[in-house]
Amino acid sequence: MEPTNINNPEYFHKVVDCQHACPAHTPVPEYIRLIAEEKYTEAYMINWDSNVFPGVLGRTCDRPCEPACRRGRVDEEPVAICRLKRVAADNKGDVKQFMPQAPFKQNGKKIALIGAGPASLTVARDLAPLGYEIHLYDQQKLGGGFMRSQIPSFRLPESVLNEEVNFILDLGIHTHFNEYVKSLKETLDKDYDAVFIGSGAPKGRDLELPGRKEGAAHIHIGINWLANVAFEHTKNVGKKVIVLGGGNTAMDCCRTARRLGGEEVKVIVRSPFAEMKASPWEKEDAAHEDIPIIDNHVPKSFVVENGVLKGMTFEKVTAEYTKEGKRKLVPVGGADVFIEADDVLIAVGQENSFPWIERDLGIEFDKWNMPIVNEVTFVSTNTKVFFGGDAAWGPKNVITAVAHGHQAAISIDLTCRGESMNVRPSPFVNLVSQKMGIHEWAYDSAVVNDQRYTVPQADKKITLANRKKEVELGYDHITGFKEAERCLNCDIQTVFTTDKCIECDACMDVCPTACISFTGNASEIDLRSMLKVPATNLSQDLYVSSALKTKRVMVKDENVCLHCGLCAERCPTAAWDMQKFFYNVSKAGSGCASHK
């Protein structure tokens, strides 16, 4: 193999598994260390810069970082990255003083943002301090998008959401709430320099089954129903409730129903339990609230008698798989199953819908009626119109919407300044030795053995009685510290200097997880099999040195490195050093695209 080019920041970025997996590339280990030091405000600000909604995300994030976390490869469970973020948010001090302070000197450019969800709010936050005049439109009476209308208060208290939405609105954003944009053409005619569409995927799928019309009064589209609950148009539900669907929306529907008077709430899914889309922790929470999940049942009809919904019938199926691994649901035979219900909530998916976008504005749509959007710049085929969040490629999650928002803001800023939006600003990076002395490092290098700490929950009696009562209580300071200590500090990189190595093998011998090998060079596939422990995790890179004196090379399999620093500790010549790698995605107006 060729020697690894560690000057390319993407190499070390990839070693920080969690940060790399985070769509917004939040510097996770950096904020976790700050939490361990009880520097909650600083930890919050690292998050705020990257993901804009630390308090919201610390409670609701889909956490793509956690399955990626290195700890999960050596220990039973990953670090509770998400819930640590909440510790920072819960305990922060005055963070506002560290945020940009309006009013800002205006640059004369006007931007419209359609939809006030996390994607648009991120664009607003990034662009307002640069002097842009931001106009934010939403049909709802308050900002937040689905974070407000869909995510129930028992998972995300309104006060937490309000605080973080207001941090942005306070930057001098012109809000146009209670205003549905019914024509993009009209908006474009208002002379905006750019329009960002963050209108989400607001249309819930329906199920056209026999009885649907007759039972309509008690059959609800899940996301509409949740919005009605959030805005207090809906205040109760029948005692017996069926929730159709296996995703997170279904989980929110069933748990909300339990709080609005539902006593026998059942989730019914077509697929096997293990294949449900809902996150494992959401399924656990539903089970904890006595909600059975009945799998392998395909809905057939709504049963309505004398104009009153009585329940639904289902066909029992079993999943069979073709050779290619494709799933087929095959009826098992026997009579249909009838399940009683006073209300049915349909949570079987959402779709985009752009009835308000005229098709003659130069914005091309594909055969699925989705706009064609550039994956890097987020621009549509009309160079003034940008898409992001769920509006761009269908329903995802908050953190993805934020990541899109940052990139779209960069593009808008570049284009408003007459520069090419295809030349993206490089990330901010820094690499600094952590050596303080013998056996002394500037980070807490010892690896603790603790298992993941569970987040305490409020008593079910209380939470089921009040839909606004938050279920999770969050870690206290001490548990937060202990959980933070489980982080392996993957951003403290092992940096190898070939010229200094005398090939004494000390690093290889001491490494607890057999990461380091000295061997003849070969192609990557061969090299992977030649190591002390073969490197079978192909998603993890090999760090290869140039040729040493003996013509061998040092090969480090990054896979299960604990970042314990023992290799650097045992190296007589400091050929290994532990260096802190800070990587921050550039935001609009920062980085190499410096403001003129």
Binding site: V447, N449, C504, D505, V510, R570, T573
Partner: protein, 350 residues
């Protein structure tokens, strides 16, 4: 502060035949200087014990005094161990071995511990053919007492303070062959590919097995002008042959062509496979082994690999015809069979 070894190990470590992963053979984290060759040899011992499927409680470690003699703390924590006085490891090992012949005896010593204060004990334990593995971690100096020249320092070799050694060195490998060791090898701490099979073969050898391992002292003897530095050793190393130890004839997977290859079959069916043999060297012939060592020396080469082996070796217990049962397990009735037996013996002598 990192000076704690994390408990996590690579999740894909393979188990040996006993079901242990290699970490079961580890010891405490070493307190030797970072980069000391001795640590590398310890790692080789751990690897060899793991590969040999050794039950740790069936092995006893012995050592004298020195950095090298400290290393039994850093490998095989689950085995027995005795850290004896300076240069006296052979007598303690002899006592233990006589008391219980059922254990594997593993001695670790330094060049000071063996070639200076312990030289007398060393040659006598060899003469007696004690069934043990004896490793010298040879750094050409007294590491523990701050690097004075030892008796294995080469004539003309410079130490860290610039002093040149005036005296003829003791060549431990030649001495071992000379005094009757039945397995003699030489190696380098920086060459585990060679060292590990040699340790395995030595542990399996049914007599006295000696391995002299050049092991640079990074702190006191890794300077320019030293003949035991990493750089010097790497530049002057020559191998008799590459070595493989195969515990069972049936497991031999690679067959090599004649001429450059030799299989030495031990009496228990295990095989030492040697390939790319040096010319004019026969590992089964003491004379030839001595010549090879001397030739290399005259060319300023450090000859490594297996030097000499006698596959028919017999150990001390065999020579003095002790009972097969470990002496420490003999009961009073075994030792004092009673007057009837005495009478029978007396009758025999009449």
């Amino acid at each position: 502060m990192t000076y704690l070894r994390p408990k996590f190990r690579h999740p894909e470590l393979q188990k040996n035949k006993l079901g242990y992963t290699v970490d079961y053979y580890e010891g405490a984290l070493s307190t030797l200087c970072a980069g000391c060759g001795h640590d590398s040899i310890s790692a080789g011992i751990i690897q060899a014990a793991y590969e040999m499927n050794i039950q740790p409680h069936k092995l006893a470690k012995f050592s004298g005094i020195g950095c090298s003699s400290k290393t039994p703390a850093y490998f095989l924590s689950n085995s027995h161990g005795f850290n004896s006085v300076h240069g006296r490891m052979p007598s303690v090992a002899t006592g233990a071995n006589l008391a219980n012949r059922d254990l594997i005896y593993f001695g670790v010593s330094g060049d000071g511990d063996t070639a200076s204060i312990g030289l007398g004990q060393f040659v006598h334990v060899i003469r007696r053919g004690l069934n043990m593995t004896y490793i010298v971690m040879n750094n050409g100096c007294y590491g523990l007492t701050k690097g004075q020249d030892s008796a294995t320092a080469d004539q003309g070799s410079k130490n860290k303070s610039g002093n040149v050694n005036l005296f003829e060195p003791i060549d431990l490998a030649s001495l071992a062959i000379e005094t009757g060791a039945t397995f003699v090898a030489q190696s380098f701490s920086g060459d585990k590919a060679q060292l590990v099979p040699l340790i395995k073969a030595a542990m399996n050898h049914p007599g006295f097995a000696f391995i002299n391992v050049i092991s640079p002292c990074v702190t006191f003897n890794n300077n320019m002008g030293s003949t035991k530095s990493y750089d010097y050793v790497r530049e002057h190393i020559e191998a008799t042959a590459t070595v493989d130890f195969v515990p069972d004839m049936k497991e031999i997977s690679v067959e090599y062509g004649k001429g450059t290859h030799k299989n030495v079959t031990m009496h228990d069916g295990s095989v030492i496979q040697l390939h790319k043999l040096a010319e004019e060297w026969d590992p089964l012939n003491r004379q030839s082994a001595m010549n090879a060592v001397l030739n290399a020396k005259s060319k300023n080469e450090i000859l490594t690999g297996l030097l000499y082996v006698n596959p028919d070796a017999r150990d001390l217990h065999h020579m003095i015809q002790t009972t097969d049962k470990p002496l420490n397990s003999l009961t009073k009735s075994d030792l004092c069979p009673g007057s009837e037996m005495l009478n029978a013996i007396n009758a025999d002598l009449r």
